[in-house]
């Protein structure tokens, strides 16, 4: 049985190793502690990370899991870093992503309606890049595929969640 501090350290190690979101179930299994305790500990950790002036990292809660990322305060410095492989996105890709991000889940026909252009190729490209994914079928004639943004989308745009996107109606 681990002590509370050890659990925290273990959580940090686990989140660090996995570069993406780690589900609560998985954490419960790895750490062998009850879900309730896990949640409690993570709430504590999230606060501690936020109050730690010396730390450059934060824990975010995302889709029923947790993920480690940097704090926004250091975005200037980090953007000076050489990126191993920056995915360059075309303007058309960005337009389409913006539409999917705000209207998800959305069908391809709906995307095309808003953009005014055929969008099958661009939708496929975004799928291949892992920025959007199929999440089901719309319950209308033809059962068209519904698309939504992925975790990779958040990573590429440095978002801690979809709620961070600016409000549509404001502008």
């Amino acid at each position: 049985m681990l002590m509370r501090d050890q659990i925290k350290a273990a959580v940090e190690a686990v989140l660090f190793v996995r570069a993406s979101r780690v589900g609560k179930d998985e954490l419960v299994e790895i750490l062998d502690i009850p879900l309730l305790e896990l949640k409690e500990i993570l709430q504590e950790m999230i606060l501690e990370y936020n109050n730690n002036v010396r730390g450059g990292l934060q824990i975010i809660e995302l889709d029923g899991g947790y993920m480690l990322c940097t704090r926004p305060a250091y975005s200037d410095i980090l953007s000076r870093m050489e990126k191993p492989l920056r995915k360059r996105l075309s303007a058309a890709a960005l337009d389409t992503l913006a539409i999917v991000a705000y209207r998800q889940p959305i069908t391809r026909a709906e995307i095309e309606q808003i953009r005014g252009v055929k969008s099958d190729r661009i939708v496929n490209t975004l799928m291949e890049k892992g920025l959007i994914e199929e999440v089901g079928h719309k319950a209308v004639l033809g059962k068209p595929v519904l698309y939504a943004t992925t975790e990779e989308f958040l990573k590429v745009f440095g978002l801690t969640g979809l709620k961070e996107l600016p409000d549509l109606e404001e502008s």
């Binding site: 996995r18 975005s75 005014g116 590429v156």
Partner: protein, 238 residues
């Protein structure tokens, strides 16, 4: 305006329309349809390269604009009762443009986040996807769907996709057209050419033959008034 227009620079007809409006500082809410339609068409005409796949969506918008323009210019007697009173035929276009503009703004926002111009968080680089073994997941329904879509694109019925069998020959058709013209006072209405044509391939051959004759200046095609009949005439040798 005699610069070359690059349609590829616009992501679609809405993008081009927004550009035209912004360039002249026109209000989206009160679009002068007649003006904008003319400018839009002018733009299309100036486009040097006609990439059909790309321009298709632009043409759809062009017909939509023309339709809108005619509805606004012509005082309609019947339709007014059908449409709700006071409804502006431009409303739909206005809404689409406003929507599109909104998403464009968001796209700009995403771009600046991407570039790190806005405070953002960073995640770990995950190029070397961990040491773990990967487990593939898939589901059979997906496979089925995927294959279905190929089947749809494939030529499944034989009649529809017969290989050329030399049954139609363009130079033959050219002779036929000239002969026809010779019989009927040297003049024919375009549609008459296609009378008795049974297959799509034959119609196509006729059309190509006609184009070729026009190119060779053996015949000319004349349309005397807008939307009027197109007449095909034998050119008199000079």
């Amino acid at each position: 305006m005699n610069y070359v227009v690059d349609l590829e620079a616009f992501h679609g007809p809405l993008d081009l329309l927004l550009y035209l409006l912004e360039e002249q500082q026109l209000e989206i809410y009160d679009i002068p349809i007649a003006v904008i339609t003319d400018q839009y068409l002018e733009y299309l005409q100036q486009t040097e390269e006609l990439n059909l796949e790309h321009i298709g969506d632009f043409l759809i918008m062009a017909t939509y604009l023309l339709n809108l323009k005619s509805r606004i210019l012509l005082p309609s007697r019947v339709e007014i009762r059908e449409e709700e009173e006071g409804s502006d035929p431009r409303a739909e276009l206005v809404q689409r443009l406003l929507d599109y503009k909104k998403y464009k703004k968001l796209a700009e926002y995403l771009l600046s986040r991407h570039n790190g111009d806005l405070p953002r968080v960073f995640f770990r680089d995950s190029e070397d996807e961990m040491t773990g073994i990967e487990e593939l997941v898939g589901d059979a329904a997906q496979l089925w769907r995927s294959f279905q879509s190929f089947l749809r694109d494939l030529p499944d019925t034989k009649e529809k996709f017969k290989l050329p069998q030399g049954d139609v020959n363009i130079s033959e058709k050219m002779e036929e057209i000239v002969e026809c013209l010779g019989q009927g006072n040297g003049e024919l209405i375009l549609q008459d050419l296609f009378q008795g044509v049974i297959s799509f391939r034959e119609a196509l051959a006729f059309f190509l033959a006609l184009l070729e004759l026009i190119r060779l200046q053996k015949v000319e095609a004349v349309q005397e008034k807008r939307f009027g009949e197109i007449k095909i005439r034998l050119q008199v040798a000079v």
